[in-house]
Amino acid sequence: MEPNLSRGNKTDTASVKKKKKSGESKAGYLLVAPALILILAIAIWPVLQSFYYSMFDLRLANPQKNAAHISYQVDLHKYLDNYPFLINLIDEEMSEAPGESAEQLEALKVKLEKADEELKKEGSVKEKYDQVDEKLMVMKPVSKDLAIAEVEKDAALQLEKTIKEVNEEAKKIKGLKNEEDVLGLASSLDEAVIKPNFIGFESYTEKLQDKRMWLALKNTTVFTVISVFVELVLGLAIALLINKAFFGRGLVRATILIPWAIPTAVSALMWKYLYDGQNGIVAKVFAEIGLVDNMTDLLTSSTGAMFSVIFADVWKTTPYMALLLLAGLQTIPSSLYEAASIDGATKWKQFTTVTLPLLKSSILVALLFRTLDAFRVFDLVYVLTGGGPASSTETISSLAYKVMFEQSNFGDGSALSVIVFVCVAVISMIYIKFLGRDLLNDK
């Protein structure tokens, strides 16, 4: 910086500081940018997109509904794959058909050709029509972007109407040599017209009245509340017990980490083996101590299955909970306990007046992470019970998965996943309200 003699020393250092500061913020934004862009593109955009998809009747297995469209469109690839052949076939038939049928065929041809003329007049169709036609002639692949042309609603409806009429009339014509081919081509032509599959909030109103959705939501809530509560109580007890110096700490810590570290899918499979109605050792033990009447109850009755899922989850995550709480406990200075015991506080009194208040934020953070984790449970249920028996352990995530990937209904599935997202958002807002800004502040 060049010294500026006319200005006072004070303003000079201030401007230097300001410049440094603005350079620092620039660097700050620059360093954060790549991560932020990735997060926006890979996490936030998909959530918004899910919401967008949820307003469409989107079915991946159905060629007319496998993308979200708001406007009427014509699939020129499909159209030109059928139209010219249909006209040729009609010509062929006309030359051989008896008088009356020939007339009917002629009428069909006129109708189709008229509709074709009309279609070519449409804005975006004009350019694409010949390009697609040429490519099809030489058997070149046609890209989706090129094949799909937007058309006015009226034009699309008119074209659809004509095609429907042609279909109807073609069925009435007698004495066709290749009747099947004519009808086949005519009906595939019908698939060229793509109607908008926008349905607004219909999926949501439907889902909100759907018993299966409510059952899944109930199961998820039951699973979350019970498992997180048990994990908290057990985790706290374990943390309190092992919060002291003892021989073999490393071994215990490693033991605690192993269930946390193995893939949930693998641990679910492991429990499936242990719970097995014929050969499972845990099922046998539970039956012997009278926890269940029959060994088979664990995976084949609805309460048994829910219990099994919760038990497996408690086994896997209690250690993790204990670890988080233990770390919290270790930040409480021992002088506080000494002071409390000098004042004559009992162990219980020390726990409620010293431990719990100071552990509050650790507990809330652990609860927040665990609740959200439990609420989106998928792998455990998918592998251990498959949501059964009779949907009794189906969670909202596993239901959404089934609707999307087994019924290939992405519209409904997206609506369900938005519901999961909203629930998670509400849960975290409640926790954050309790936690305050503690979680994000520097100190």
């Binding site: 934004y29 693998v266 086994w315 998918y382």
Partner: protein, 275 residues
């Protein structure tokens, strides 16, 4: 609280360790049983008098298990390297530079880490399918960013905050630029934290199930968790192979946990505990 541990305490510890480890021990003893002893009366007998490695052999011979392991390893490693790299810049800026809106950015990162995966899967799946990236390594690395990147930023911010702030001042006085300060002064000190983050991210990517299940359905690109879960035949469940496969994936994890337990614990509890 430095109370002395009594003998009763060690009994409790032994019981606790046994209960937690029991499923693994049972899998281990089951995996070396001959197939006949997995069912019927012998099923409840912890030890077998005819130990065999047939199940282990079958896992490698009858299933593309090595391929699964390799796929998981490739996907988890690349995800880890690239996310930790991107995250370390962002975390450094958030932890140590002054600029407006960084609390907001950290808040955003935290909320994204809480996104349920199911809420992002339909657009991601359709996007990857249209690009022809389903059944590829990239097809998993891209979606894995959704949870690994926020996780790494979150953990790294805590580690970067622990490095004394005087160091930067000193570097500035010596005339180092911001990037020089980052590369020469801060980064070397942050290596342990970065390593810890990498371990946690690797485990998270290795264990992921939903994306792996839906995106890579081809045997050539399946990851270990999905591969094992799909061992189940149409009519029978090959428990012998499943127990063996479980042991195979657990053993390296046990070794890793034993080696890095301190780091893992510090990574898991960072950000969750205010010191």
């Amino acid at each position: 609280m430095n109370k002395k541990a009594g003998p009763l305490f060690y009994v409790f510890l032994a019981v606790f360790v046994f209960l937690v480890m029991f499923p693994f021990l049972w899998m281990l003893t089951s995996s070396i049983k001959p197939i006949g002893e997995l069912f019927g009366a012998d099923a409840f007998n912890p030890f077998t008098s005819n130990p065999t490695l047939a199940n282990y052999e079958s896992v490698f011979v009858n299933y593309p298990f090595v391929k699964y392991l390799w796929n998981s390893f490739v996907v988890a490693s690349i995800t880890t390297i690239y996310t930790v790299f991107v995250a370390s810049f962002a975390a450094y800026a958030i932890a140590r530079l002054k600029f407006k809106g960084k609390t907001l950015i950290l808040g955003l990162v935290l909320s994204v880490s809480m996104f349920p995966q199911i809420a992002t899967i339909s657009p991601i799946y359709i996007f990857l399918k249209n690009l022809g990236l389903t059944n590829s390594y990239l097809g998993l690395i891209i979606p894995y960013t959704t949870f690994t990147l926020p996780l790494s930023i979150w953990i790294l911010v805590t580690f970067f905050r622990k490095i004394p702030f005087d160091l930067e001042e000193a570097a500035k006085i010596d005339g180092a630029s911001l990037m020089q300060t980052f590369w020469r002064v801060i980064l070397p000190l942050a290596i342990p934290g970065i390593f810890t983050t990498a371990i946690l991210v690797f485990i998270a990517a290795w264990n992921e199930f939903l994306f792996a299940l839906t995106i890579n359905t081809d045997d050539a690109y399946k990851t270990v968790p999905v591969g094992i879960a799909m061992f189940e035949g149409q009519f029978t469940i090959p428990w012998g192979e499943i127990t063996a496969a479980t042991v195979i994936v657990t053993v390296p994890l046990v070794i890793m946990v034993l080696l890095f337990q301190r780091r893992i614990v510090s990574g898991l509890t960072s950000g969750a505990v205010k010191e």
